[in-house]
Every structure is written in structure tokens, then in C-alpha cells.
Amino acid sequence: MTADKSKIPDFSGFTCTNLMIRLKMLLKNAPTDSVVEIIVRRDQTDMIEIPFSRTGYDVKILKLDNNLFHVTLQKRESGAGS
């Protein structure tokens, strides 16, 4: 997990659809077994946690402050992916 939060892509300014697109692009371009990290708003965590867990990713969410969350996604070994 990246210690310096300023180096993590901040997606909190994106609308939900843009977030989905950018996150999927990030995941597609990420090397196998790597962990993808992003910063999102509270309302955006809902659209990441369940859909991506369901499609083969381990999703972890860490609260940074009232409205900002640090999300990590890693493809499960047997996961279908998204």
C-alpha cells in the first residue's frame, strides 16, 4: 500500500460513469498481481465495492476522512476479472 497518499490517483472529482471508465482502464493497464489504489468520495465507494468484488477483485476500503476513502483493488487469482 502506498504510504504517500499524494501519489495515489485521486478520483474523487469524477462523476460515477467517468470513475467507472477510468478505474477499468487503470485495472486493464495494471501489471498482473499488482494492487491498484485510488482515492474516492464516500458515495463512490458503493459503486466500486460490490461490483468489483463480484467480478474477481479483492476490494479494501480505508477511511481517510469524513468524505475521502482509500480504495485498493487486486485481482483474485481465480477471479474472472472485469
Binding site: 474523487s12 462523476t15 460515477c16 460513469t17 467517468n18 467507472m20 471508465i21 477510468r22 477499468k24 482502464m25 486493464k28 468520495r41 464516500r42 458515495d43 459503486m47 461490483p51 463480484r54 467480478t55 468524505n67 476479472g81 472485469s82
Partner: protein, 414 residues
């Protein structure tokens, strides 16, 4: 026998009318061949074409009129024209009407104010189309007022819906959000903002529900979002009062319901559970009517193609079975290799398509005849987009998954 309708309001090219004609032939020849053998025509119309705006020119122009004549030779096809829009444009449909007097209707029903109204006919058909009779009629609006006459159509359509005691919902997407700008003051056109506010008042008088939702991404881009709480609530100081700017998911949540959603160019296909599910249709969850989004425009000149893909992603994300079909000029999204400068923060449409490939509830297709007509080929790397022809297009339109419980499929033209 089922019934389906197309509501078309923008210019209809010969290309568009031809693939619609091929689609209808597929329906009758492959799915209901018995209707072609019987001399007696079925009592009910199977396909109704509701034609307004610039789409009316197609009934008069020789190259499209020829295709309409083929369509009208098929059993149980009816065309209902918007009389007021015909008169406004000075278009005559007499030639078609003389040949097919029972199928080409160029007059409309009387509305409550004593004037004839095409939209009264539209909502009547919309209500017959669904059982039980729907309590809500929605309208997805994509264009700005004044530049596009379709904004007036949206207001007239929803006013007609209130006349038949339906709740109404207005969904503003892309430039459609401009219709909710406050203080509109046109001198040469009906005031669309006031028209929308009047709908709210009329609904209230009739004890009916009226909801107006605008997409927050589209609204923010156009300068409407004065304050955003970051959790889905957006407040604007420049929209009319009934307009609510919300995350697109809130709008799509309304699409989970079974009501009819109209728009400038839409179709509604009744679904019949018949035979095995097609392999093209993929897996399904939920009871929301499936959506087929037709991307008909080239990718970068307007926001339509990107808007359509964003809309599709949101629908699929909300559990709605969503097909995206690149057709007509929409196929340009798939040809060549699109490139943006490396340091840009934006993405090209092909990157988006590749990114969303394999998403749950979302299938992507390209209509091969559109590629062939333009002498282009699909980029070989776009493997997530499946090639389809007339037969597969017909299957996507008319065959539903066994697990789909909804009684109709929504088809939206972008």
C-alpha cells in the same frame, strides 16, 4: 400477436429506413411467417410508426418513400403522422395515403383543449402497449431548446401524458439539461422552461406526480452545478425550480421500472417468451426492461457517442441488461486507431470501449452493413465488439432472455 412502435422525430435517411425494413422482414419471415400466409390481416397493428418533426420528410422524399412502400406491404404496419408538423412543413403524404389509405394516418385525435394532438395518439398507443396500463410515462431528452424543436415535443408529449392521467418523468441528458435553464425568454418560440414549469402545475392540479431529473455530469459540464455536496446532491442557482440535478444512477434507477420511456427517436418492442434464449443476449439479472442503445453518430463531432456509452455503462452497472449497437455513422468509433496526445487526461472512445468490454450486463455489437456501406473495417483489436448482420440485429430486437421478466425492450437512438 405482439405490438411494437417506433417514435421517430429526426431526419430519416434511406440507410436507417432500410435497416428498419430489413428488421421488420426478419420479424415477419423468421419469427411470424404465418402472418405472411394469411389473406386476412391481423386485427391489431403489429408495428406502428409514429412520425413527427423532420422524420416526416421521409414520407415525401422519393428515395425513402420507396422503402416506406415496402414496409407498408408488410402485414399490419401503420404510420401515424403528426398533422401539425406536416402542415408546418407543407409536406403532403397524399401519394402514400392513396395507396395505403388504412395504413397511413395523417390526422390526430382531439385533446382536451379541443385541438388535434399527435402526442395524444402517442400516449394512447403507449398506454395500450403496456399491461397493466402504465401509471407513468417518461421522456429522455438529449437536445437543447430552440436549436432543436424536439424540446417542444417533449413538453407536448408529457402534457398529453397528464391528460391520460399518467404520472410523468422528464430525464435531461447531454444538451437536454439546457431545457431547464431559468429565465428563458424566447420571442419566436414556445418557452420551454415555462412549459416544463406548467407541467408541474398541471400535474399538481390533477394529483399526478411529476419528476424532472438532470444528469449531474452533463449539468456540471454546462455550468449548472453551483453547489455539490459530493454525495449526489447538486444545487443550481440557474435552473427552474422543478429541475433536480442528480447523479446519473438516480436517473437510471427510474429505468428499473417497467414504464414506457419516450424520446425524440425511440422504439418499444414487446417481448414474448419463446424458444431458447439467444447466445447474443448474454446473462441476465433483474426485471428492468432491457435497453438497446443505438450509437448512430460519429464519435467526436458531438457528445452523442460518448454520452451513449456513459449511459450504457450506468444502465449495466445498475443491473439493466444493456446492448450497445454501433450502427450508421456510429461505426466510425470502431475504425482505425484513435489517438490522443500522451499527456492528455482524457480518453478516446476506443479506450473507453476496451475498458468497459466484459462488464456485467453489457454487450457491444457493430452492425456490419454499416461498415460495408462506408467501405471501412473494424479495428481488429476491438475484439470486444461483436459483428452482427440483419438476422442478429433482429434477434437482439425481438428475442428476449427467458429470465427477463419485463414485457418490453427499450430502444434508444443516440
Amino acid at each position: 400477436m405482439t405490438s411494437h412502435f417506433f417514435l421517430l422525430g429526426t431526419s430519416i435517411t434511406r440507410e436507417r429506413l432500410s435497416w428498419i425494413e430489413e428488421n421488420l422482414k426478419f420479424f415477419f419471415v423468421k419469427l411470424y411467417p404465418e402472418t405472411l400466409r394469411h389473406h386476412a390481416k391481423p386485427k391489431d397493428n403489429v408495428f406502428t410508426f409514429l412520425i413527427t418533426g423532420d422524420a416526416l420528410y421521409s414520407l415525401h422524399e422519393p428515395e425513402t418513400q420507396q422503402v416506406w412502400e415496402i414496409i407498408l406491404l408488410l402485414p399490419s404496419v401503420k404510420i401515424i403522422c403528426d398533422r401539425q408538423e406536416l402542415d408546418l412543413r407543407g409536406i403532403s403524404v397524399e401519394r402514400l395515403k392513396m395507396k395505403y389509405p388504412e395504413q397511413v394516418i395523417d390526422y390526430n385525435s382531439l385533446s382536451i383543449n379541443g385541438q388535434t394532438s399527435f402526442w395524444r395518439d402517442v400516449v394512447k398507443i403507449a398506454r395500450q402497449h403496456e399491461q397493466p396500463i402504465p401509471s407513468t410515462i417518461g421522456y429522455l431528452h438529449l437536445e437543447s431548446p430552440y436549436m432543436h424543436r424536439s424540446s417542444l415535443s417533449a413538453v407536448q408529449c408529457l402534457a398529453a401524458a397528464l391528460e391520460v392521467q399518467a404520472d410523468i418523468e422528464f430525464y435531461a441528458y447531454l444538451d437536454g439539461v439546457h431545457s431547464g435553464h431559468m429565465s428563458q425568454s424566447p420571442t419566436e418560440f414556445d418557452n420551454i422552461g415555462k412549459g416544463l414549469e406548467d407541467l408541474v402545475e398541471l400535474a399538481s392540479k390533477r394529483n399526478l406526480r411529476c419528476q424532472m431529473l438532470a444528469c449531474s455530469r452533463c449539468a456540471a459540464a454546462r455550468g449548472y452545478s453551483t453547489w455539490d455536496d459530493g454525495q449526489g446532491l447538486v444545487i443550481s442557482t440557474c435552473t427552474i425550480k422543478p429541475f433536480k440535478i442528480r447523479n446519473i444512477n438516480e436517473m437510471i434507477a427510474r429505468f428499473d421500472r417497467n414504464h414506457l420511456i419516450l424520446g425524440e427517436n425511440v422504439a418499444s418492442i414487446q417481448l414474448v417468451k419463446k424458444g431458447k434464449p439467444t447466445i447474443l443476449a448474454g446473462s441476465d439479472k433483474g426485471n428492468a426492461p432491457p435497453i438497446t442503445i443505438l450509437i448512430t453518430r460519429s464519435p467526436y463531432g458531438t457528445e452523442h457517442a460518448f454520452g451513449a456509452l456513459s449511459f450504457a455503462i450506468a444502465c449495466a452497472h445498475n443491473g439493466i441488461q444493456t446492448n450497445v449497437i454501433f450502427i450508421e455513422d456510429g461505426v466510425y468509433a470502431l475504425t482505425g486507431t484513435h489517438q490522443l496526445s500522451k499527456d492528455t487526461q482524457y480518453f478516446n472512445l476506443q479506450e473507453v470501449i476496451n475498458a468497459i468490454a466484459g462488464s456485467e450486463n453489457l454487450q457491444l455489437y457493430v452492425f456490419q452493413p454499416s461498415l460495408q456501406q462506408r467501405g471501412i473495417a473494424k479495428n481488429r483489436e476491438m475484439t470486444a465488439v461483436l459483428d452482427i448482420g440483419v438476422a442478429e440485429l433482429g434477434q437482439l430486437f425481438f428475442n428476449s432472455l427467458k429470465s427477463v421478466q419485463a414485457n418490453h425492450q427499450r430502444i434508444l437512438f443516440f
